[in-house]
Symmetry: C2
């Protein structure tokens, strides 16, 4: 059957967690996108199973965190077991460590299988009704027309696919004298008749099709890195065991049989990563491994404790190695993410997290460029920002594999110390982007010294912007904004700041207005608002005609005055815009913890290292990363910041 040609702004190949994250962004931003997958069903069992703090924050920004958290195993403690000094045929507990994830964010490390997360994304796509996963799609060819790549209106990628032709099957006439069922009939007709070819012309294309990525091969990117001959078995079972820490995540080293890492899961499942015996001289034959062999090996390592199982949910064998691609894009038109550009060992549960974070970084940029809100050159930050993360992951994984594969030595096996080195990065909250076009450098990077506090307006070279890190010592420019509790001014409800930074594609400008109960501080805020209300301010010139004033950049205010002393109606109206049908917007102004509320919730100014008598402006990207920090008086520089990133929709009046 001859292929029809269709047009799409974005085609996503592969509907695993990374692809679905990109699809969620596409859905939220309302762009013309498709997501295809060659499997008939989502992953039902096994594969990835760990979620870290930052991933949960991201899932929460799409409204998906609560149902996942309710079902998952919560990791609160980690134990290390090592050979007993008096009898090295036995292991004994050498360390018990609190996970202390509450120091990093609102979530804990969780254990839940990948398929459940995919299902939540599928539910989100279905509820929003804009796109859903097209399954059973075979990719045939992919071409990129380099010449048209610089033309924003062009569709430089040509993807040829084959799909089961359901319409054709449905049209098979009844009553043709046979009693074959439709599907059997179709099979008998041969594949030529039941597959339908389609040519998709795409403005942008994303390959999230896994470690054996078809997309990567089409664009000719290669992976570089190391492979070892170390093999691990990974198995999900309901354990029958007297090991006392069977429901605790453990790092277990035996004297003579290798190591096991365990990770409990939802329901009664426990995952085991089991170091398999090396075959001297011979090549390791994966096909000879069975689940019984993996569990038996784990049982030897756990001695004197017993380990057996009746139910095995899933198992696999992997070879330790680290590989990643030299770039994550082709002409900023075809992008790759997740396992398609970085592979490593699974034993710290990083893979699914880093993969979803890849496309969480990319998805809003693609959406804004496709919609004509942002300039195409911001797409160049994707490879820069995410390849640096992949590089760090490779290094961490190498050291971790060494930790697990090498025999127990007193120094290397201080598990707590080892974990401390990586936990901030692994949790995802330590990831820092820039400096680049989206994240200007901080002043002390360039001038070697922290600038002195200034009075009045701030003079700078208009062609260069610098963030002033000292204004908010614990809001690290380039990292995600840490979430703390604040009080909705109009409702008195206590909310986390992240709960108002939903992933809907909008930029946020946070006015940390300070103690506006002080007349001079209120005067400073009013000056900011006078500027915002002027036709040349960023909220006007980057908002499309007919769009609401907060549709591209939302201004949020968090003041540090005593809330009872500041009436909602005394706040400048541009901070709480009035709509003739809906009234004022009561969900944009917040109060920091203050008089009479001490102890009820956290002091965000204190946690962020912001002076209540000074305040500052924080520009937050649509992915919650902090891009720019400046004084209240420097509000015009926020327009300058956006001038290099966004597309001007209106001329100054």
């Amino acid at each position: 059957m001859e292929g029809k040609t269709s047009y799409s702004d974005l085609v996503i190949i592969g509907a695993g967690p990374a692809g679905l994250m990109a699809a969620a962004w596409a859905s939220r931003q309302g762009i013309n996108a498709r997501i295809i997958d060659d499997n008939a069903e989502r992953v039902q069992k096994g594969r990835a199973d760990g979620l870290h703090v930052r991933t949960m924050e991201i899932l929460d920004s799409f409204g998906l965190a609560t149902s996942i958290e309710e079902k998952a195993y919560t990791l609160r403690e980690i134990c290390a077991w090592n050979p007993d000094a008096e009898n090295d045929d036995r292991i004994r507990r050498t360390q018990r460590v609190l996970s202390r994830e509450e120091e990093l964010g609102r979530y804990h490390q969780l254990g839940i299988h990948q398929g459940f997360i995919e299902q939540k994304f599928n539910d989100l796509l279905e509820a929003e009704g804009r796109l859903s996963v097209e399954r059973n799609i075979k990719t045939v060819s992919l071409d990129l027309d380099k010449a048209s790549s610089t033309n924003q209106n062009a569709y430089p990628a040509t993807l040829r696919i084959r799909r089961p032709d359901e319409a054709c099957n449905r049209e098979t006439p009844n009553g043709n004298g046979t009693n074959l069922s439709n599907s059997l009939e179709s099979q008998l007709k041969g594949s030529a008749n039941i597959w339908h070819e389609e040519i998709i012309k795409a403005k942008y294309l994303l390959g999230t099709d896994g470690a054996h990525s078809w997309t990567r091969r089409q664009v000719g990117l290669s992976m570089t890195g190391d492979r070892t001959e170390k093999h691990f078995g990974v198995i999900d079972i309901i354990p029958l065991s007297d090991f006392p820490d069977i429901r605790i995540s453990c790092s277990i080293h035996s004297a003579n049989h290798g190591s096991v890492m365990t990770f409990p899961r939802e329901g009664r499942l426990v995952r085991f990563y089991v170091q398999l015996a090396e075959t001297e001289g011979e090549e390791f034959d994966k096909t000879k491994i069975t689940p019984d062999m993996i569990v038996q090996r784990a049982s030897q390592i756990l001695s004197p404790y017993k380990l057996d199982y009746d139910y095995c949910d899933w198992w696999s064998v992997y070879m330790v190695g680290q590989q990643y691609a030299s770039t994550f894009d082709k002409h900023n038109r075809i992008f790759l993410a997740g396992d398609a550009v970085h592979t490593h060992s699974p034993s710290m549960g990083a893979g699914m997290n880093v993969s979803m974070q890849d496309t969480y970084n990319l998805g809003w940029k693609l959406g804004q460029v496709i919609k004509g809100i942002a300039q195409p050159h911001i797409l160049g930050t994707y490879t820069a920002e995410r390849r640096a993360v992949a590089a760090e992951l490779m290094e961490m994984d190498q050291r971790m594999s060494k930790f697990y594969c090498e025999g127990p030595t007193s120094d290397a096996h201080d598990y707590s110390k080892f974990r401390d080195e990586f936990r901030t990065f692994l949790s995802g909250v330590g990831v820092e982007y820039g400096p680049n076009i989206l994240v200007p450098p901080v002043r002390d990077d360039k001038e070697g010294a922290i600038a002195e506090p200034r009075n009045g307006s701030y003079e700078t070279d208009q062609s260069k912007l610098y963030s002033e890190q000292s204004l908010a010592t614990k809001i690290i420019v380039g990292q995600r904004l840490p979430s703390h509790q604040v009080m909705n001014h109009a409702e008195a409800n206590i909310v986390h700041v992240h709960s108002v930074l939903k992933s809907d594609g909008r930029w946020r400008v946070l006015l940390l207005a300070g103690d506006i109960g002080q007349p001079h501080q209120m005067a400073r805020l009013k000056t900011v608002c006078d500027y915002l209300a002027s036709p040349s301010s960023f909220v006007h010139i980057y908002t499309p005609d007919g769009g609401k004033i907060d549709s591209v950049i939302e201004v949020l205010t968090i003041h540090a005055a005593s809330r009872p002393e500041v009436e909602f109606s005394s706040l400048p109206e541009i901070l709480r815009p009035f709509d003739p049908k809906l009234g004022y917007d009561y969900w944009k102004c917040f109060a920091n913890n203050n008089h009479g509320e001490e102890g009820r919730f956290s002091d965000a100014y204190e946690e962020w290292g912001v002076d209540k008598n000074r305040g500052c402006i924080v520009v937050v990207r649509p992915d919650q990363h902090v891009s720019y920090l400046c004084e209240l008086e420097e509000i015009e520089q926020v327009t300058q910041y956006f001038s290099q990133i966004l597309v001007r929709q209106k001329l100054d009046n």
Copy 2:
């Protein structure tokens, strides 16, 4: 068309919140039940909209709290406005009060419309797949055969219903020469053909069919109480207003125009309860009231602030009055709940809560009696327990109506003081049942003095049981068990006790084992476990053949030892039963906050007023209410307690 006859263990008439709560219990307990409603759809707008702390705890026990909490308005602050002393044409804020619901439980008072809650129950029923609401059902007649009411196997209630005969409509032949649509064709045939009659013989029947209850009329119960001539308008609008507390729940009294109470809601809605002008001498004509009139009246009261609206979601007019029924059941076979047996003014949002709590009280009792687990005489506690609550509600509502309807006087208008009198009852956490067959009296009730602490075993009159309140001074016998955090011993996860007291119909025996790091306390626990393991203990004799040991009564342990000093494997096995396919049960043993964990979570023993060197046993009903408190040595008395309530399934060996 002639009616078929069917049999059902329980028929629920009316699928509002009270009926759906009963249906949820029926679904959870797997009984043969039906729920019917004469409306074609659930409530879409208006009606009840307030949820209190205890109701949220109950909804959480069915897994429904989170999604409701995420969507609802959270009440954290309440303001009182009264005439300005200097100009009584104006109102001014006279009080700002924190709701302080966190002192009562894990939830706040919430504002969300009834239909959303009904939808969550419908979703639960659908997910569990046992029963769902049958709609468009008209009730025709109800008879109760008193003679067979004492026979447990009889179906004494006969309910005749009419339903749209979908099967009949579907069978209308095609191709009969007309091109009428099926539905039009059916209409033309007349109602005699499209309604199908059915006779349902029911063991038990529950009427949750509202203030104008058909069921109540059939059984001839009358309502007694007072009605006034005070009328209020109630309206849900998106307000256009400069009133600064428009998103705060307010009690507002004007000097000359009456009072308004406001309650913000999900989305942008705000509900107003507006006192309407009394018509001198004439009879009040409800039919003349319009939404504009209600809002205009509210606007007068709010002066000098403006109030207008573009969108009105729902409105109604009600007359203040309090009425309730003399009994809530007929021969313990037909029961009534919710508005069917108590009506009052809606302005404190109590109605839906008390109604759901009625059937939360009844549902597990019906389930256990129908399943032959409990003795039928426990059903007598329903009217006793819930009518007392209704009586208290009537009294509260009378005083509250007086507060709103009487003009502002300095004393009556200390809103904070007024609220404090009622908040524990209104929140639902102060509700206390007994003494009765399910809740034995506490010792000092009977003997006029608190018993002295005892050593060794406790001697008592075997025919009478008394709870020893002094063993847990803040676990009030008859009230719901307050929830505090404890740590899962095997997983180190911190959980609320309520999260392990799900509404699944099971009784719980909580062994507060004390500091089992002390040998003598561990010895006490082992004595308890030896008894539990014996064939005559309650976990054996009340469990049906083939049932799991925890299927009727679940034993949960919360010890107060340092968790690292007590290995999971050292806990007696009956506290963590082993299953040959599933392994040990890791979710029944918990540690109180202890060494190294201070500050991370609450100290439950301290909060409950339990001595860590002594401990106690707490028997908790399937509805989380505490029925019995005794010493660890008194474990045999727990069997005695159950002997008056449950049906013995096995003889002692």
